[in-house]
Amino acid sequence: MLSVHLILFLMFGIVAVAGAVNLLVQRHPINSALSLIAVMAALAGEYMLLGAEFVAAVQVIVYAGAIMVLFVFVIMLLNAGVEEQTKGSRVALMFGVPGMLVGSLLVAWVVLKHSGTEAVAVGALPGAPSTIGELLFHEFLLPFEITSILILIAIMGAVVLASKPTVPGGGPAKKVND
C-alpha cells in the first residue's frame, strides 16, 4: 500500500530525475540552468520529507537562489549560444553505455538488497535550526571559521580573475589566437 510519504517521495524524485535528464538533453545552457533549478527545488522537498528543514531552506536560498542566479548571469553576460555537437567516439557508445547500465543495475541491486528495510520516518530527526546552530558553534566551530576564510579567498580570487587583464607595461593584454 502506498503511503502519503512514499507518494511524495516518488513525486519529488520523478521531478528531480526528469530535471537531471533534461539538463543532459537540452542544447542551450539557459535551458539546462532552468532544469537544474527544478532539480534543486525538488531536492528541497526531499529534505523536508526527511525532516531537515534547515537544509531545505538553505538549499532554496543558497543553491536555487544565489548560485543559480550567478550561473544565469554568466550565461547572459557571455551570450552563450547553442552548444556545438562533436562526433562522439564509437568505442564509448559500444562499451560505455552497456557498461554503465550493468554497473548501475548492480549497484541498485546491492543497495536495495543489503541496506535493510528500516524506513526513514517523516520528521525522523530533530533538525530544528536551533539544534544545528548549537552543533555548528560548538562541535564544528573551527571548520565553520575556516569556511569564512575560504569564502574571503574565493571573493578575492573571483575579483582578480574576472577583472580586465593587464600586462606589466600597462594597457590591455593581447588576445590568444591559434
Binding site: 510519504h5 512514499l6 517521495f9 524524485g13 528531480a16 530525475v17 537531471a20 539538463l23 543532459l24 545552457p29 539546462s32 537544474l36 531536492l43 526531499e46 529534505y47 520529507l49 526527511l50 531537515a52 534547515f54 537544509v55 538553505v58 543558497v62 543553491y63 544565489a66 548560485i67 550567478l70 550561473f71 553576460l77 557571455l78 552563450a80 552548444e83 556545438e84 562533436t86 543497495v111 541496506s115 528500516e118 526513514v120 525522523a124 530527526l125 530533530p126 544545528i132 555548528l136 562541535e139 564544528f140 571548520p143 569556511t147 575560504l150 569564502i151 579567498i153 574565493a154 571573493i155 573571483a158 575579483v159 582578480v160 580573475l161 574576472a162 587583464p165 593584454a173 588576445k175 590568444v176
Partner: protein, 100 residues
Amino acid sequence: MVPLSYYLVLSGILFACGVTGFLIKRNIITIFMSIELMLNGVNLSFVAFAAHWHVLAGQVFVFFVMVVAAAEAAVGLAIIISVYRTRETLNVDQVNLLKL
C-alpha cells in the same frame, strides 16, 4: 515510510546524471552545472544517512558542502569569464593549449 535505500538510489541516479553530463557536454558552463548536480546528489545521501542514524552532523556537512560549492561557483565562473575573454569560445574542445 520510505526505506533508506530509495533515497540512496535517487542520489545515485542524480550523481550518474552529473557524471554523464560532465563527460558528454561540450559547453563549459553546462559542464560546471553537471558538477553542481553531482554535489546535490551527494548532499541527498548525506541527509538520508543523517536521518537514518539520527546523527545531526550529517546536516552540518551538507552546510559545509554548500559553502564550498558557493566558493567554487564564484571562482569557476570567474575563470570561465576569463577564458571567454581570451579565447572567445565556450567550447571545451577549442580550449586545447595544453594539448600536444
